[in-house]
């Protein structure tokens, strides 16, 4: 019973984080919310007995993609402010 409840609460958390990623005003917070979706998804994969996919999702989805998005966001902001070519 407990793993099922955990699965459903993870799904709920993913939906809430997805709404947060779309509706939040601050773009940095949106990137973090998108990373939270991946983190919950990787836990879900682990509970569904798919550790290989869980590792990929945790490392790429919530780790590296967030960092690449944050770097890119910073770069775009810098270009918008005009101190880049």
């Amino acid at each position: 019973m407990f793993p099922i409840l955990l699965c459903y609460s993870l799904c709920l958390m993913m939906i809430i984080a997805a709404f947060g990623a779309v509706y939040v005003k601050n773009l940095t917070s949106a990137v973090i919310a998108a990373g939270a979706i991946s983190l919950a998804a990787s836990l879900l994969y682990l509970l569904l007995a798919a550790p290989d996919v869980a590792m990929t999702e945790a490392a790429i989805g919530s780790g590296l993609t967030s960092v690449v998005f944050l770097y890119t966001l910073h770069l775009i902001k810098k270009i918008d402010e005009g101190d880049d070519d």
Partner: protein
């Protein structure tokens, strides 16, 4: 108003389409034919403990080659769009905790990444996961030491050599064993030992090095443009 109605209708239509997938396809009790064949054949023919790895590297090896190619093209695109610059003044120096902790943790994370890709045929994980773990270790090092030098020439060299070696092992499988990327090129070895299941550890080592160096070079290009 009418636009919102259409959006709601589209979402409702998607939900109706997805209902059969949710209600009909529960977790089955038995494996289907393909999965049963993989589960029975992989330990016997290839000697892998982790059947997922057997599917990824050998049975569906061509798909994995496609994935590696996609990642390579993505890296090339990033390198094409972002030109390399070396100056970039640090916004604020990293704190004492971050710089010390990062430097202690970084070799351990690299070691874990190497473990993940070299044990891909025994435990969960493999080349892609190990490579990404190594890239996150280098990310931590980049954050904890702003001036950390990344030798992009060395990265490119490792990437090219491992990509070429991956393809060479695949072609050797075509010539000496059953087909392209056939892992029975080397003997299957003792079931469960590190040097077993043919060329799978070799291929995963090349994939791990290739993925790791590609991601590190993406991160380095993004960082040096900040």
């Amino acid at each position: 108003m009418i636009k919102r109605l259409f959006v709601l209708l589209a979402v409702a239509g998607m939900a109706v389409i997805l209902i059969p997938f949710v209600s009909g396809n529960g977790a089955g009790d038995a494996l289907n034919n393909v999965a049963a064949t993989y589960v029975e054949d992989a330990p016997r023919d290839l000697g892998t403990m982790n059947i997922v790895t057997a599917v990824i590297v050998t049975y569906r090896g061509l798909d994995t080659l496609g994935e590696v190619l996609v990642l390579f093209i993505a890296t090339a695109g990033v390198g094409f769009l972002l030109k390399k610059r070396r100056e970039g003044d640090p916004v604020q120096p990293p704190s004492e905790i971050l710089s010390t902790g990062g430097m202690i943790l970084m070799p351990l994370i690299v070691l874990f990444g190497i473990y993940v890709f070299s044990h891909g045929h025994l435990t969960p994980g493999g080349g892609f996961q190990g490579g990404v773990i190594i890239a996150t270790a280098f990310l931590l090092a980049m954050l904890s030491a702003r001036r950390l030098p990344i030798y992009s020439g060395l990265l490119t060299w490792i990437e090219s050599v491992s990509g070429f070696a991956y393809l060479a092992v695949g072609v050797l499988g075509l010539v000496l064993a059953g087909g392209f990327l056939d892992s029975r090129l080397l003997p299957a070895g003792r079931y469960g030992s590190l040097l077993s299941s043919g060329t799978i550890p070799l291929i995963y080592t090349f994939i791990g090095l290739k993925v790791g160096t590609e991601l590190v070079s993406i991160l380095d290009k993004l960082r040096s443009n900040q």
